[in-house]
């Protein structure tokens, strides 16, 4: 999982979303189609072309107060329409660590 934090050229090969961390508490958030953020991946705006991705990212990055480190992340869209993270890194960001936490939540 090459860190996506330094995305230079924007080129997407499949459905993608924009994700970031919320500034005040750091939780994982996704950019919605209503120019807002949500902690749920199901609320995320899906982009399918590089131009759309670029536009969504630009709009997200512009919210420097609300979010930190916005970048484009791949997703998978299941037949049911359910959105799934497109790689292990994003899976971990959404679902949490793959191990048992030392103190159960």
């Amino acid at each position: 999982m090459t860190s996506p934090l330094e995305q230079k050229k924007i080129k997407i090969t499949g459905p993608s979303v924009v994700t970031a961390n919320r500034t005040w508490d750091g939780i994982v958030i996704y950019r919605t189609a209503r120019q807002d953020w949500s902690a749920k991946l199901s609320d995320a705006a899906i982009v399918r072309t590089s131009d759309e991705a670029r536009a969504l990212l630009a709009e997200s990055v512009a919210d420097d107060v609300g979010a930190v480190g916005a970048y484009i992340a791949p997703v998978e869209i299941k037949e049911s329409g359910k959105i799934k993270p497109g790689n292990l890194r994003e899976h971990i960001r959404l679902q949490g660590v793959t191990i048992d936490l030392p103190v159960p939540a």
Binding site: M1, N21, V65, L88, V97, L101, P102
Partner: protein
Amino acid sequence: MYAYDELDRTLINERVEEFRDQVKRRLSGELTEDEFKMLRLQNGVYLQLHAYMFRIAIPYGTLSSEQLRRLAHVARRYDRGYGHFTTRQNIQFNWIKLAELPDALGDLAEVGIHAMQTSGNNTRNVTSDQWAGVAPGEIEDPRIWSELIRQYTTLHPEFSFLPRKFKFAITASPHDRAAIKIHDIGLRLHRNAEGETGFEVLVGGGLGRTPFIGKTIKPFVHGRDLLSYVEAILRVYNQYGRRDNIYKARIKILVHELGIDKFAKEVEDEWQEMRDSDTALTLDDAMIEDIRSRFTYPAYEKLPHTPEELKKAAHDPLFERWRKNSVSTHKVQGYAIVTLSLKPVGGPPGDATADQMDALADLADKYSFGEIRVGHEQNLALPHVAKRDLPALWNALDKIGLATPNVNLVSDIIACPGLDYCSLANARSIPIAQELTRRFANHETADLIGRLHINISGCINACGHHHVGHIGILGVEKNGEEFYQITIGGRADENAELGALIGPAVPYGEVADVVEDIVEAYLALRARPDELFVDTVKRLGVEPFRERVYATR
């Protein structure tokens, strides 16, 4: 223990207030993330995958029970009830909220703990031997010098924006437990022919993308000149270290590109200039004495070398197993240094829960004069335990899960947080470590194998020091899948060496098998039962291992 005085405490409090103001300006939008990022890094705040991560300094690895309790409090109040001890005598919390950080810092400041310069391109937490002050055969307590350097490097007006991060480590023992050869500056305290104490100064060690073992830049720098000599090195680095490429910005690259002789000459010229004009950095005996006087040592009793309690407990094989690998010789007769494994079978290396921290703080009060140590192997230690108390302590530690008898054995694994937490990771580290501890859970087998250090990093930044693991495991990415490169023969001590690659990278599911095969190859290849893994690799080279491990793959 080092007792902070009013001046130290004032500075820490002033730093908390400054950071509180910086966070406020960030949250209100007065500071952009670009501007704030460096400010938060200078105070140990990273943004990781799930949340902010907060790294707190434990200078030279010494903690009081009061401080440990406060760390437990922060874990509970501001985080998720646990913390992670790193390979650089820091503790990290993984789930902290930026808005609450100033309060957490304020709580820590009350007991003299801070997070200053635990990340960012400045001088980092000064690390030292976790057995400082209690190890037999030590020249003197290296923490006196560590503390002098800690103060000197804290909020340095000239060196807070270096080309890249800069790490010091100090040792005063013949056996190096502080890994000084893999630090930007490594200091080895020793005596010269005239009987004066001073430092062998090493420079340009470091792991990461381009690993180097540090080189000696000056065989002897007198203690009184330590700060001016360090300033000369930092000034040369600040001016000439590369700033065009983050991967070439560490001092090791400058030293490598100039060559150690040329670099040493630059430093020498600078130092001579400073010494003529500027004596403010010269330490006089009174100043050193002042710092020394604030390290207090317990009032040790006169105790027998082998107390009855110990003789009795020796009949218990479980106690004996733990004692053999966890208890080390103390400089004072009748006392021992007890290492506490933070590597339980199936657990994440280096993690401790708030409850464990609290319980351990109580045990430290009862059995170790209220003092705890943190080592770069991600284990803790109680530095002053009376030997007669060892059986009772062992029982108590066992109850809180801190008596795993695997110190320095194959399941005493050093691992970075990896892809489960870290935003820079290629691959996971913790589950690999957990699987390995399960494979080697049998203590008889582990005893048979003997001393063997496995180190795991989730990416080339090498926080798990994989290059210097006897077996090193590095997470890489291949087509979106987790793969791992495996090296053997590295070591981090006074004979530091970088490991050599044993073969092609293997996928996640095969790592534990490969490691088992490597260990089996070692058992077959070693000349004698007491030839350590690293020594076998040194004697035979990588080839025989490669043949055995990869022949059937």
